[in-house]
């Protein structure tokens, strides 16, 4: 399935990315070459094969539902300047 410039626009919306018009053509070309390369998987016979979700076929371990640590809000929020009263500040969402 060939990737077109329109596909790039749609994917960019989904991926929350944007591309300047100057980089659009080159980006389309390189992504198309990657997709063309992985397209060879379509030829592999896999009708009776179970998809592999974990490399060692193990299930996710669940921990006991007990309190084991305090969350240090101040330390965790030290990674941005954009906080107020223990909350994160974002552009206004509701007018």
């Amino acid at each position: 399935m060939a990737i077109t410039s329109d596909d790039i626009d749609k994917l960019a919306v989904l991926a929350r990315l944007e591309f300047a018009s100057s980089e659009h053509e080159q980006f389309t070309e390189k992504l198309a070459s990657v997709v063309a390369f992985v397209d060879q998987l379509a030829d592999v016979e896999t009708d009776d094969v179970t998809p592999m979700a974990h490399p060692l076929d193990m299930h996710q371990r669940l921990r006991p539902d007990t309190e084991d640590a305090d969350i240090d809000r101040e330390a965790l929020q030290s990674t941005t300047e954009h906080t107020a009263d223990g909350l994160y500040v974002v552009p206004r969402v509701i007018e």
Partner: protein
């Protein structure tokens, strides 16, 4: 004191215990090496001179009062993908250029608790996406064997720093070959453990079903020391396995007589450099002299590992990297009018081209209408590749072959075509898809450049891989070769 950088980790420990030199001597010497040599390599993003010197004093005090721990005073570096409390952790990205984590990765904590001294954080491909260390926001890393060549990637800074003797050893991560390929291209021993062997907590995620932390060292013996301290169950990582850690330093001393090695027929085809192939064959002859048996085996679906990986890894990456939204950490675009623009511009300004390409590829293969054709299909092919390894292990104990198709290539040589770059990992990706432990060790010289022999084992066979490598290194000296400018 002039030659402290040439000592292996175990020789450093020995010298410290005998008080032939102090931790301060060791740390000062390596900091001086970094100052002198790193400008030509760019292997470090952050050097921690003052904290390292303070830690050296504390370690010397422990030697003096008899409370030295297993790896007390060893100068090592961490790949800048591991979170370090209070120390900038960039992941090679503009997105995290000023990110200071409030906590340590478990790998960092475990090694700290064993007494190692963190000398600095090493350069890497952005978010570990690359095979040449050219996608880093902090610039290309040069190969100490020849400036202008790539040290490989994504753990290229770790590899260059250890190969240039700027630090005793370094941590790395391996999602498709990111420890083994740089180890091969710089003459080091690189270990990617079994998926789940080493905690991924605090290791910035790229592709969560493939990522695994490991070591870049100058010998298998050093790798055994470091891996022993890094490994083990961690309740903070839900994919960490509750398997006890074996005594690697004891296991490596065993004879390898009777061990069956399976040379992968599919790895010896067209893409493999002929001199590289000769080096691999010669190394296998040495292992036969040590009592191992070599037979050819087939992994019929291994040729599909690169396209499978380039569906699975980007899919997981597009999901993992959705956390970078400009709000809680990382680069935040300024002068935005609404939330959607904040996300879009923060991400577009913060990520480099290769990361964007992988996010877009992952978004594509997971999008409505394409999920079955790409992602589900790749997960099925992954099962076939894994089954090939399981079949092989019914015949042989370890699977062997080259680590890379060629020795180190030039910076800029493969950047125009992503697929050409991706094919550099053709021999290494299979072990990640199957979750198996694998090791690369230097096995020869092609035109003055090192090449690697790769060993792949069954799940939890790290000790066996290290054993074979150590026995090989006991009778050969490839692992002791140093790049001339840094000897």
């Amino acid at each position: 004191m002039k030659r402290l950088h040439s000592l292996s980790l175990s020789r450093m420990l020995d010298g410290l215990k005998r008080r032939q030199f102090s931790v301060k001597d060791l740390v000062t010497h390596h900091l001086m090496r970094i100052e002198q040599h790193d400008p030509s390599l760019n292997s470090f993003v952050t050097v921690l001179a003052e904290p390292a010197l303070a830690a050296a004093d504390a370690a010397d005090a422990r030697y003096a009062n008899g409370s030295a721990r297993a790896l007390e005073g060893l100068p090592i570096a961490h790949k800048d993908i591991f979170c370090t409390a209070g120390v900038r952790t960039t992941c090679g990205s503009k997105m995290l250029h000023d990110f200071v984590p409030p906590y340590d990765a478990t790998v960092v904590r475990n090694l700290h608790d064993a007494g190692v001294i963190m000398i600095g954080k090493t350069n890497m491909d952005e978010f570990a996406m690359g095979s040449s260390n050219e996608t880093s926001y902090f610039g290309d890393v040069h190969n100490p064997w020849q400036r202008g060549l790539s040290p490989g990637g994504s753990s290229g800074g770790s590899a260059a720093a250890v190969a240039a003797r700027l630090v005793g050893a370094a941590t790395g991560t391996d999602t498709g070959g990111s420890i083994r390929q740089p180890a091969a291209l710089t003459g080091l021993t690189g270990v990617k453990p079994t998926y789940g062997r080493v905690s991924r907590y605090g290791m910035i995620a790229f592709a969560s079903s493939l990522d695994q932390a490991g070591t870049l060292t100058r010998s298998a013996e050093d790798a055994a020391l470091l891996l022993q301290a890094m490994s083990g169950f961690d309740p903070a990582d839900s994919t960490s396995l509750e398997q006890p850690v074996e005594d690697y330093t004891q296991q490596i001393t065993q004879p390898i007589k009777g061990l069956k090695l399976g040379l992968v027929r599919e790895f010896l085809g067209d893409g493999l450099d002929s001199a590289n192939a000769r080096a691999v064959r010669a190394a296998l002859d040495t292992l036969v002299e040590l009592g191992a048996q070599v037979e050819e085996i087939s992994l019929p679906n291994i040729g599909l590992s690169v396209p499978t990986y380039y569906v699975v890894a980007p899919a997981e990456c597009s999901s993992n990297l959705s956390r970078f939204d400009g709000i809680r950490f990382g680069h935040r675009a300024s002068d935005v009018t609404d939330l959607a623009e904040l996300y879009r511009r923060s991400r577009s300004e913060g990520f480099g081209d290769e990361v964007k390409r992988r996010i877009m590829t992952g978004t594509y293969v997971l999008s409505a209408g394409y999920y079955d054709a790409y992602y589900l299909k790749a997960q099925k092919v992954r099962r076939l590749i894994s089954a090939d390894f399981a079949n092989a292990f019914e015949q042989v104990d370890l699977v062997v072959g080259p680590t890379t198709p060629t020795p180190a290539f030039g910076l800029g040589e493969k950047t125009d075509d992503p697929v050409t770059m991706y094919l550099n990992d053709i021999y290494t990706i299979g072990a990640n898809l199957a979750g198996l432990p694998a090791l690369s060790m230097p096995c020869g010289d092609v035109g003055g450049l090192p090449v690697g022999l790769q060993l792949i084992g069954k799940a939890f066979a790290e000790g066996q891989l290290l054993n074979v490598a150590h026995q090989f290194q006991n009778v050969t000296d490839w692992h002791t070769h140093a790049p001339e400018a840094f000897a």
